[in-house]
Symmetry: C2
Subunit: 143 residues, 2 copies
DNA sequence: TTAATTCCGACTAAACAACTCGGGTATTGC
DNA sequence: GCAATACCCGAGTTGTTTAGTCGGAATTAA
C-alpha cells in the first residue's frame, strides 16, 4: 500500500510550482535544487504531468514549467493518477484482468471491499487541492 | 498503490474460514483448493494471521485453523495490517524514517495529505467485517 | 505406526523501483 | 551566436520486493 517515489516527488514538485505560480515559468533545475531531487529523475516525471495537462512548458532560455490552472483547481488525485495511472488496490479491479479475480463460481467475495477502498482513496486525494498544500497552516502560525 | 498478493489471499482465506466457522478447524489444504492458492504460499501467510491473534491453529492430523473470534469481530483492516504491516503510503510516515521526509526547513508541505490518506485507508478497511464479506448481498438475492 | 497436519527456514527467479548516464534535438532570450 | 532550457530516448545499474518453491521437522488423531 505504498505510493512510488515518482508520485511523492511529483506532488512536491507541483507544490513548488504552486508557490511560484504567477511568477512565470520555473525551470526544472530550480525545483530539483529546492526539493533535493535528481534533475534527471524529475525529467522523467514531468512528461506525465504535461500529458495530463496539469502543467505547461515554456521552451528555450528563461523557459520552464508553469501550472496549467490555478493551484486551487488542481488536486493531489490528479497528480497521483497522472504519474502512477489509475488507482487499483488489487489487479482484478483493472479492466484487463477482470477474469483472473474470481475463481469461485459465485461472485467474488472480496471485490466489493477493494472497490470501496479504491473509491475512497480517490476521494481523499481529490479533496486536497494544491493551494491547500501550500497555504500556511493555522497551527504553525500560532506556534 | 497496490496491495500484495499475500494480503489478497489472506483476506480470501479468512473469508473461507468465516464460512466454516463453528465447524471445527479447517485445514489449509482445503482453503488452498477452494481458493486456488498454492498451499505453500498460504503456509507463509498464516503465521502472520496467527501472530495477530486472528486465527488459532490446531496441530496434527485433523487439525487446521479456526477464527479466534466470530467473523463479525474481525475486519479487513485487521487482516491487511497483520499481513502487510501498518499502512504507510509514503515512507516518511513510518517513525523510523521521519527524518528523510522533509528537506525543507519549514514543515513538510505534503505530510498532511499522506497522513490523511493513511487514516482514511485504515478507516475504510476497518469498516468492513468478515461477516459482511461472506453474507449474501441483497442485490444478488434479487437477480 | 502412519497419515495428516502445522510449522520453520532457506532458496530462487522474475519483476520492479529508483535512479544514473549519455547523448541528441529543438527552441528561445539575450 | 551562445547559453539555457525543454524535450526525447534508450540503456544500464543496483538494490529491493514479490511471489512463489522446496525440504524437512514437530505434532497429533486414529
Amino acid at each position: 500500500m505504498k505510493l512510488s517515489a515518482k508520485v511523492e516527488y511529483g506532488v512536491r514538485a507541483m507544490a513548488v510550482l504552486s508557490i511560484y505560480y504567477q511568477e512565470g515559468p520555473l525551470p526544472l533545475r530550480e525545483i530539483a535544487e529546492q526539493e533535493k531531487i535528481s534533475l534527471k529523475f524529475l525529467e522523467q516525471i514531468f512528461p506525465d504531468l504535461r500529458r495530463a495537462d496539469l502543467i505547461q512548458s515554456v521552451r528555450g532560455s528563461r523557459g520552464g514549467y508553469i501550472l496549467s490552472r490555478p493551484p486551487a483547481e488542481i488536486n493531489v488525485g490528479d497528480i497521483v493518477r497522472a504519474v502512477e495511472g489509475p488507482i487499483t488496490p488489487v489487479d482484478c479491479l483493472s479492466e484487463v484482468d477482470s477474469e483472473s479475480c474470481c475463481h469461485r463460481k459465485d461472485d467474488c467475495l472480496t471485490r466489493q471491499v477493494w472497490e470501496k477502498l479504491r473509491d475512497r482513496i480517490n476521494d481523499v486525494l481529490d479533496e486536497v487541492s494544491l493551494d491547500e498544500l501550500v497555504e500556511v497552516k493555522p497551527a504553525e502560525t500560532l506556534t
